[in-house]
């Protein structure tokens, strides 16, 4: 018997004419892991929330949703809470209390579990999740990844049979995301919990899933086996295809036969069956002497005097009109670097040379929004910085705003509230606000965090346009694939220093771990393989010749 069953379910938000979910039917078996994917805004979150009665507010639902043969509307709230767990996107916002142990006990407190029993259940889960060491800590002292593990653990103490997760790893760095996904897998294997998870980036989740639900504009397109989902998406021209693991994408795009590889190991095995031309050795090249837009020399910075410095004797120079990416693990001070470079923090020692104006864009674009509409948001720049724009007439301001709306492709949403935009649109609006300040150097903090593949692509196009107009872009990022495709120079931050800012191909070719999964596969075939992006790989596979180095370096 299936554990979750949807029968012709449609759902309307209050006062909406179009349903957000359209005639959806599917079944999930006990202990299955089902991955829900689709473009952002296609109704993934709404679908997940329908299965948790405590999260549905208002709206009309037709059709039936039943859980373990019981109709959802006949379930008591208590029963629903005990059986169905939910973890959302934002790690920090889901935490309620001030101490880790208290957070773990929160659900049990609500169910009036006596103290002695609570103690055991909480202790047990803390052990399972490996967070016993954090037990007495303040929740504020945890990292994003730790917070999300805590959120998962505090749902699991209630011993649910079904776990619903709404893009749980979108705010985490790749290493923590991997750990989170592994934990989910263990939960599934050791407790037999059924998992329905939606995710934007599929590289890590997909290999774990049993089946994949593909959604498109409120409709369920397909519920297929994981191995064939790539083929389905390709045929349907679903934009989510771009977010699939690289091995799978290449397999589908080269129209290969056999079952699709899901990860690097399988990818290598598959590639070895192909006969590929040998690669030319990558020519080591030094960076050409270009103009420098921003230079740091021997900069040191620390938040507190007694603590270890975040940046120690940090030196780097960024070329004009290029995209430079700084990669590095969490807590290595990537955000701090941008804040020092943009002049928000004053370095304790060392020199900063800046040619032109710098602006800093935070990870969370919402921190720039104050006005009720997108249009006013852009106009606000001129009011807020009247000193810079003192002599501009109203008409000129209006012209510039319209120009920016067009440039950022925000025309259609110009009268919406900024908070109602999708993640990618918010990112572009924030960037638009900053561009109106006429900066020469843009410092971007994780510009692709939480964005889906389509929005990432758009961000990449935007970078090209900005480069053409002579802007220098410096970003810090976890997103290896995005950097490989859209950056010109890359550097790795470690122990408060950047070893060297290298041309992007060279950087990724020489790395073993900090590189794209495409390169990790091709590296196994040939140590000197210059292939780093999917596009290059595809060229190689289709033509079986060595690609020209797209020599921007």
């Amino acid at each position: 018997m299936s554990q979750i069953e949807w029968k012709q379910v449609s759902y309307w938000y209050p006062q909406m004419e179009e349903p957000i979910l359209k005639d959806i039917s599917f079944q999930v078996k006990e202990g299955e892991i089902v991955l829900l994917c689709g473009k952002s805004g296609c109704g993934k979150s709404t679908l997940l929330r329908q299965m948790n009665p405590s999260l549905v507010s208002g709206g009309t639902l037709t059709g039936n949703i039943s859980i373990e043969g019981k109709l959802l509307e006949t379930m008591s709230p208590m029963e629903a809470v005990k059986n169905i767990g939910y973890v959302g996107q934002n790690p920090e916002a889901q935490i309620v209390t001030d101490k880790v142990w208290h957070e773990l006990a929160f659900g049990l407190e609500s169910l009036s579990v006596p103290n002695v029993q609570m103690k055991r259940r909480v202790a047990e889960m803390a052990e399972f999740f490996g967070i016993s060491g954090l037990f007495l800590k303040d929740t504020n002292a945890l990292s994003g990844g730790q917070m999300q593990i805590l959120n998962l653990a505090s749902v699991m103490v209630m011993r649910p049979k079904i776990l619903l997760l709404d893009e749980p790893t979108s705010q985490l760095d790749p290493i923590m995301a991997q750990r989170f996904i592994e934990t989910l897998k263990r939960i599934n294997e050791e407790f037999g919990v059924t998992i329905v998870i939606s995710e934007q980036c599929l590289e890590q989740v997909l290999p774990m899933a049993d089946r994949v639900l593909i959604m498109e504009e409120g409709k369920l397109v397909e519920l297929t086996d994981t191995r064939v989902c790539g083929q389905m998406m390709w045929e349907k021209k679903n934009p989510v295809f771009q977010a699939l693991p690289a091995a799978m994408k290449l397999h589908v795009e080269t129209k290969s036969s056999g079952s699709a590889p899901l990860n690097v190991v399988e990818g290598v095995r598959w590639l070895k069956t192909k006969k590929l031309a040998t690669f030319e050795t990558l020519q080591k090249e030094e960076r050409k002497n270009t103009d420098i837009s921003l230079e740091a020399k021997g900069v040191s910075f620390g938040y507190e005097k007694k603590q270890k410095k975040v940046l120690e004797d940090f030196s780097v120079s960024f070329p004009v009109g290029k995209v430079s990416a700084i990669l590095g693990g969490n807590g290595t001070g990537k955000t701090t670097i941008l804040k020092v470079l943009s002049g928000i923090y004053k370095p304790e020692r060392g020199k900063l040379k800046t040619k032109g104006r710098c602006v800093y864009m935070p990870q969370n674009p919402q921190l720039l929004f104050t006005e009720p509409t997108v249009c006013e948001e852009l106009e606000e720049v001129f009011i807020g910085h009247s000193r810079q724009f003192g002599n501009l007439s109203d008409k000129e301001i209006a012209d510039r705003v319209i120009e920016m709306l067009e440039f950022m492709e925000l025309n259609e949403v110009a009268s919406n509230h900024p908070f109602d935009l999708s993640g990618g649109q918010q990112q572009r609006l924030a960037l638009g606000k900053l561009l109106l300040l006429e900066p020469d150097i843009l410092l971007l903090d994780e510009p692709t965090k939480g964005l889906d593949a389509a929005f990432k692509e758009k961000m990449g196009e935007l970078f090209e346009k900005l480069k053409k107009s002579g802007k220098t872009i410096i970003m810090v990022s976890h997103d290896v694939d995005f950097s490989a495709e859209h950056a010109d120079y890359c550097g790795l931050l470690f122990q408060g220093q950047i070893a060297n800012l290298e041309p992007v191909n060279q950087f990724f070719c020489e790395n073993y771990f900090y590189t794209t999964s495409v390169h990790r596969m091709f590296q196994r075939l040939d140590e000197n393989s210059p292939v780093i992006t999917c596009k290059q790989a595809l060229e190689v596979l289709l033509s079986k010749t060595v690609p020209e180095r797209n020599g921007e370096g």
Partner: protein
């Protein structure tokens, strides 16, 4: 310095501090208040990481100035004029009364200093969780919220600085407008967040049943003993106060009831109550010496 006593069950510690506060505030007897002041200073100096004589001084001076200098200028009770200002007598009784009063206030402040350290957030929540689990949860949320709010404000401000705003050449109006803007961002951010928080709370059954309150404290046998001793000692002192053994009049003429056997017993009990934490500390040291660290 961390005292062993602070690790006892929160109810024991809270009851100790409660008795000390009540007994200090119930009499105007200079001997009782004096004893209380001495111990309150001793404890507050022990629990604070660094010696905080400065805090003691800064809180003592205004209190003394107010009650011993300003108050006698306006209150003219008493029969022993010391000198006259504008033909109004400044009496010895008001000054002495003011002095005793300041000592009392000072010692209450010092006891609260000790309370602050010994009853930290976790223990505070536990104590209130016994009365109302919902209140306990709210306190816990607030304790988390304040530093988070400040951190976010800092971040928002930094971003504005990154956009070219600087405090140095801004007029007062500019600054006010900027602050308003930053506050508005902070509020929207927090509201946006609270939607997620409430979802997380509801999906974990908030508001469904009667809440219980989780805590990590265990009631040990030593806690029972400690509690009993404290109640017993306090009971003796309260009986003494009840029987008006410690009455003291300041107006119109100062009069202190002479001590008899029972009132001396009460004072001894009061001192014994005050040294309970030291006794526990001594016991702990002794145990450690005997058990391992030979």
């Amino acid at each position: 310095m961390k005292m062993t006593y602070a690790m006892a069950h929160p109810l024991v510690v809270a009851s100790f501090l409660f008795w000390m506060l009540i007994l200090t505030m119930c009499t105007m007897n200079p001997v009782m208040i004096g004893i209380s002041l001495v111990f309150s200073i001793v404890y507050s100096q022990i629990v604070s990481e660094r010696m905080n004589w400065r805090f003691l001084l800064y809180s003592a001076i205004p209190i003394f100035v107010f009650t011993m200098v300003i108050l006698p200028l306006f209150s003219h009770n008493g029969v022993t004029p010391l000198f006259y200002i504008n033909n109004m007598a400044v009496t010895m009784e008001t000054i002495v009364f003011g002095f005793v009063m300041s000592i009392m206030v000072l010692s209450v402040i010092q006891w609260f200093q000790v309370w602050n350290v010994w009853i930290d957030g976790e223990r505070f929540i536990y104590l209130f969780g016994r009365i109302s689990p919902t209140l306990a949860l709210m306190i816990s949320m607030v304790i988390r919220f304040i530093p988070m709010f400040l951190r976010r404000y800092r971040e928002i401000h930094e971003i504005q600085v990154g956009m070219g705003y600087s405090k140095e050449n801004a007029s007062f109006g500019d600054k006010a407008r900027m602050f308003g803007k930053e506050l508005s961002i902070l509020v929207s951010w927090t509201l946006e967040h609270s939607v997620d928080t409430s979802m997380s709370m509801e999906s974990r059954g908030y508001g469904l049943g009667k809440r219980t309150s989780f805590h990590l404290f265990r009631w040990k046998k030593s806690d029972t003993v400690c509690m009993l001793i404290q109640v017993l000692l306090a009971a003796v002192v309260i009986t003494g106060i009840w029987m008006e053994k410690f009455t003291m009049y300041y107006f119109p003429k100062m009069w202190l009831k002479p001590f008899d056997g029972f009132s001396i017993l009460c004072l001894v009990c009061f001192v014994m109550l005050a040294i309970v934490p030291f006794v526990i500390e001594g016991k702990e040291l002794l145990c450690r010496r005997l058990n391992g660290n030979r």
